[in-house]
């Protein structure tokens, strides 16, 4: 039995060897020299395609790649960090010029970034950043700008005067910090607008409702609410509804989740700030081209956000 197995093994080995020699000769004498290599090849490791946000990101990248004549290879990690590492290795084997990563997890992606570094392939991260390894540039939504946009919209709707409430996200998270900072910077431009209450509500719909109920008890006059995400904004809508004060209050959220879009269509919410994943994908391809052209890049490029109101909601 042992003999049989070793025979099979040696046969298999022989076959593989023959193949590799043949194949090697084919590559050396094959006619694929030159011209094809001129085209920039970009590998794009996306975290998942099971979420519309990342589907849009991939589509944006594909669209821009086609316009710019860039060859794009996409690998989908299906939200599995191990799978992402494997597929990035596979992309690196194909001698890509630039690697764009939308990490499943910032820590677990570090070994993949390092192996790209080892092979001299420049790395761009999108949406989530990598905790270690050398990354040329990072592309993500500009949450500060989004907060400012919310403030600006509010001021315009309120005629630059009024009393507003801010429902904050989980303290310490970058989203809560940046969105809050942008919003307060924006509101400070208007002397007649004051933030009369600022309470954390944990990015949570139920908490958003309770916190808003309490604030409504304490303040008889409220003109607008800005919440750091749509879940809290929708919670506030419920509280305002049962207090009968929804019609007189402007509600602005953040993220453009489906429920919020419906609420905007129904006139319950007034606006939300949407991230633009498709734009992030496009920017990644543009920056990859910049790298290929040997031009310098900044560490970080903010992707613009979009104000969604009843006028442009889909």
């Amino acid at each position: 039995m042992f003999k049989k197995k070793s025979l099979i093994l040696s046969l298999a080995f022989l076959l593989v060897l023959t193949l590799s020699v043949n194949a090697g000769a084919f590559w050396i004498f094959g006619d694929d020299d030159g011209q094809e290599k001129e085209k920039l090849t970009v590998g794009f490791a996306v975290s998942t395609q099971n979420n519309p946000f990342f589907v849009d990101m991939k589509k944006g990248a594909e669209k821009r790649a086609e316009e710019m004549g860039v060859e794009l290879m996409v690998a989908d990690a299906q939200n599995d960090a191990a799978k992402q590492l494997n597929s990035i290795q596979d992309l690196l084997v194909k001698q890509i010029d630039v690697l764009v990563i939308n990490p499943v997890n910032g820590d677990a992606i570090a070994p993949a970034v390092k192996s790209a570094n080892d092979q001299g392939v420049p790395v761009i991260t999108v949406d989530r950043s990598a905790s270690d390894g050398k990354v040329v540039t990072h592309i993500a939504s500009d949450n500060v700008k989004g907060g400012e946009m919310a403030a600006e919209y509010m001021a315009k709707q309120l005629g630059e005067e009024g009393k507003v409430v801010e429902l904050a996200g989980i303290p310490g998270t970058s989203a809560a910090r940046d969105r809050g900072e942008g919003f307060n910077n924006g509101i400070e431009q208007y002397d007649e607008i004051s933030v009369i209450a600022r309470q954390p509500a944990g990015f949570d719909r139920a908490k958003g409702m309770t916190v808003m109920e309490n604030i409504l008890q304490a303040h008889q006059e409220i003109d607008a609410v800005f919440a750091h995400n749509d879940s809290m904004a929708l919670g506030a809508v419920e509280a305002l509804k049962s207090a009968g004060r929804l019609d007189s209050t402007l509600v602005v959220g953040f993220d453009a989740i489906d429920d919020a879009l419906t609420a905007i269509k129904d006139g319950e919410m007034n606006a939300t700030i949407a991230q633009q994943p498709s734009l992030m994908g496009e920017m990644a391809i543009e920056k990859a081209q910049t790298i290929a052209n040997d031009k310098d890049l900044k560490d970080y490029y903010p992707a613009k956000l979009k104000l969604i109101t009843k006028d442009n909601v889909q």
Binding site: L19, Q49, D80, L85, D107
Partner: protein
């Protein structure tokens, strides 16, 4: 007795060596693997390169380790659906111990004990309480995942020292460490299954538990051990994975039990037990690894990859069935 049927079901007295080889299940799956390799070599110029071949084996090692443990279980007539979750427990425990400043060897042993313990628990419940393996390990799949999330508080544990990272990411000469681990474990499993009484008992129980019991084999002990082995292998796999990623993910290994079962079955081991072997499982795992890698190289969308993987499994089982009927 069943030792006879596992490898050469129809090898008669006068059969030539060639016929014997042809009749081996491993030979057929091996041919399948070679076929896929030939096709991929012709379709992608990047496939048959040294780097890529090492990539494939490294990528396969995680699933192969799980599948080796699963082979023991399936040979004995059982099934283990908990391996994906057990590997997450082991990687989380090892990562937790490491980041709390524990010595690397102790951290690894801690992870191995945690995972092997869960496997042992599976085995004890199945053999002593006579509960079906499918249900017990399905329950453990949920329990172990929950334990991982509780232990990690739902967050990845990351940032290990270089020595630990060497386990999954290092190289000895040109050979990645996971490949070396794979070869060592394969050799041990092969010897245990083919050259020890324990291995023969595993086959015997899978062939007919009643007959094994009657012939004096301590079936309960063997069955318990088999699940402990599966837990141990899952832990090892989880620890290598954590090292590769430099991070223990609480959701690591989700759905991996199906890939492991597929590798075992692709390798010609019968799901009803008693027939098959560890080399077949290695080939089965390699087939899955090669397909994943090849489709990535060919830039095939991941949606199609899932369909392709399922189709290959169906095809392999169909061919296996047909050849058995013909024999």
């Amino acid at each position: 007795m069943s030792q006879q049927s596992q490898e050469q079901p129809q090898a008669g007295v006068g059969a030539t060596l060639l016929e014997k080889i042809k009749s081996a299940t491993q030979f057929k799956t091996g041919l399948g693997l070679l076929g896929i390799i030939v096709v991929l070599s012709l379709s992608s110029e990047y496939f048959l390169t040294v780097t890529n071949l090492f990539n494939i084996v490294t990528q396969t090692s995680i699933n192969a380790l799980l599948a080796f443990g699963m082979t023991f279980v399936i040979l004995s007539g059982g099934i283990d659906l908990s391996v994906g979750s057990v590997m997450a427990v082991a990687s989380a425990v090892t990562a937790g111990l490491l980041t709390s400043g524990m010595n690397m060897v102790i951290a690894i042993i801690g992870g191995l004990i945690a995972g092997t313990g869960l496997g042992l628990f599976n085995g004890l419940v199945i053999s002593r309480l006579a509960m079906p393996a499918f249900i017990v390990t399905l329950a453990m799949k949920s329990i172990a995942r929950g334990l991982t999330l509780i232990y990690t508080d739902g967050r990845p544990i990351s940032g290990f020292n270089d020595a630990f990272q060497f386990l999954g990411g290092g190289k000895v000469g040109p050979i990645p460490v996971p490949v070396i681990i794979l070869v060592i474990v394969l050799t041990i499993c092969y010897i245990v299954l083919k050259k020890t009484p324990f291995g023969r008992y595993v086959y015997a129980i899978g062939g007919s538990e009643e007959a094994a019991e009657l012939s004096g084999i301590k079936t309960k002990v063997i069955k318990t051990t088999v699940f402990a082995i599966s837990g141990f292998m899952a832990s090892l796999s989880g620890i290598v994975l954590a090292s590769r990623l430099n991070s223990a993910q609480p959701t690591a290994g989700t759905g991996y039990e199906l890939d492991a079962i597929a590798a075992v079955v692709l390798g010609g081991t019968s799901l009803t037990g008693g027939r098959g072997g560890i080399t077949g499982t290695l080939i089965g795992a390699l087939i899955m690894g090669v397909i994943n890698n090849g489709l990535n190289l060919l830039n095939v969308s991941s949606f199609y990859q899932l369909v392709a993987k399922g189709t290959v499994i169906l095809l392999a089982i169909y061919l296996d069935r047909r050849s058995k009927q013909a024999a």
